[in-house]
Amino acid sequence: MKFRDEYRDAAAARRIADAIARTATRPWTLMEVCGGQTHAIVRFGIDELLPDGLSLVHGPGCPVCVTPVEYVDKAVEIAGRPGVVLCSFGDMLRVPGTSGDLLAAKSRGADVRVVYSPADAVAIARVEPEREVVFFAVGFETTAPANAMAAVLARREGLENFSMLVSHVLVPPAMRTILEAPGNRIDGFLAAGHVCTVMGFEEYEPIAAAYRVPVVVTGFEPVDILEGVYLCVRQLEAGRAEVENQYARAVRREGNRAALATMREVFRVVPRRWRGIGDIADSGLGLAEGYAGFDAERRFGPVLLEAETAGECISGAVLRGERRPPDCPAFGTRCTPEHPLGVTMVSSEGACAAYYRYRGAAAVAGGRR
């Protein structure tokens, strides 16, 4: 596939890895904040191409993983009501709620449907006017314009049987939270390429300046990620802390204006709780007043957040980049994708699932990275 395969070229990847090894003179710790990048790193063994002392830690880059359990519970509750169709991206179906997941609700007879696009949920509302169609709208900035467009289309068509359970999150506030945490060891960030396709990267410039960390907007293929690492290390070695754009084929500084306009029409910035991390001010999106009529929480009652309880699972520390999946005593033994203890093992983009899938026994045995 054009614009993908050439970025998986092993010889090109090796050359950049060599350049990184020549450039790095000190140990550095870089964080990527996108589950897609985490998976590429683990799948292609990108971390294993890096010199000793240069580590990649995985941040809270998986919207499914950071969605509070109470939203899953609410989705399960709504799905169980008569006459409701609950539409969701496939990733959410196996995320455990307090009493089961959406897949279990479906097996009990709830009408839970996986949609590829939010526009599919609107289409269901259009052709099944006698049903209440609720779309579980999760995601980062990448997904926000598409989910916003669902509301725009529903309003335009006067679909009163459509609503959205919104748990959208924003990346930069989480980066600030990680940088401000006691014991923070992040020297630089690979910023999530597709988040920046939508948002641009101006909002990262104050972060780079205030915390003295390089931020490199980075793509998703091995050559992209290695080049992102190279640019980040080059900045660190030179004592620079700037925003650079590795992924210029898909990211402009100002982002996607049309997408941003729709997103800002439909959503407003709200505080959000991140599972495993806690409450972060201004870190999410909720429906703006003009679209409040599509808010599933207004139709079916609000999501009530409770204190998170700690268990054996270390997914919170994994999401904060403090621990690696193989550090967990339950990893690969008591916790597997079939029987997950935590959401980072469930989601196809969770860090634990990536290590389990691509490293398997090697990770369980406690590999170096």
Partner: protein, 84 residues
Amino acid sequence: MCLAIPGRILDMTGDEPILRVGRVDFGGIVKQINLAFVPEAQVGDYVLVHVGFAITVIDEAEAERVFRHLEEIGELAVEEGGPA
């Protein structure tokens, strides 16, 4: 979750910007994609598609820049490494 796949626009329909859709070819698999967020897109352009929506037109000149940069990195290596 933020996965976006590159594909080539085969055709497009829809008069109003927010209703503009097109058939996009992803290496042989063709899907109907919403083009509302890429008003500048033309037939033949490559777009990145996320959850059924094109989120950007791929800048082909920039796409090649990565590999030019690679050449520079390689040349730098020769200079820095000096004679073996």
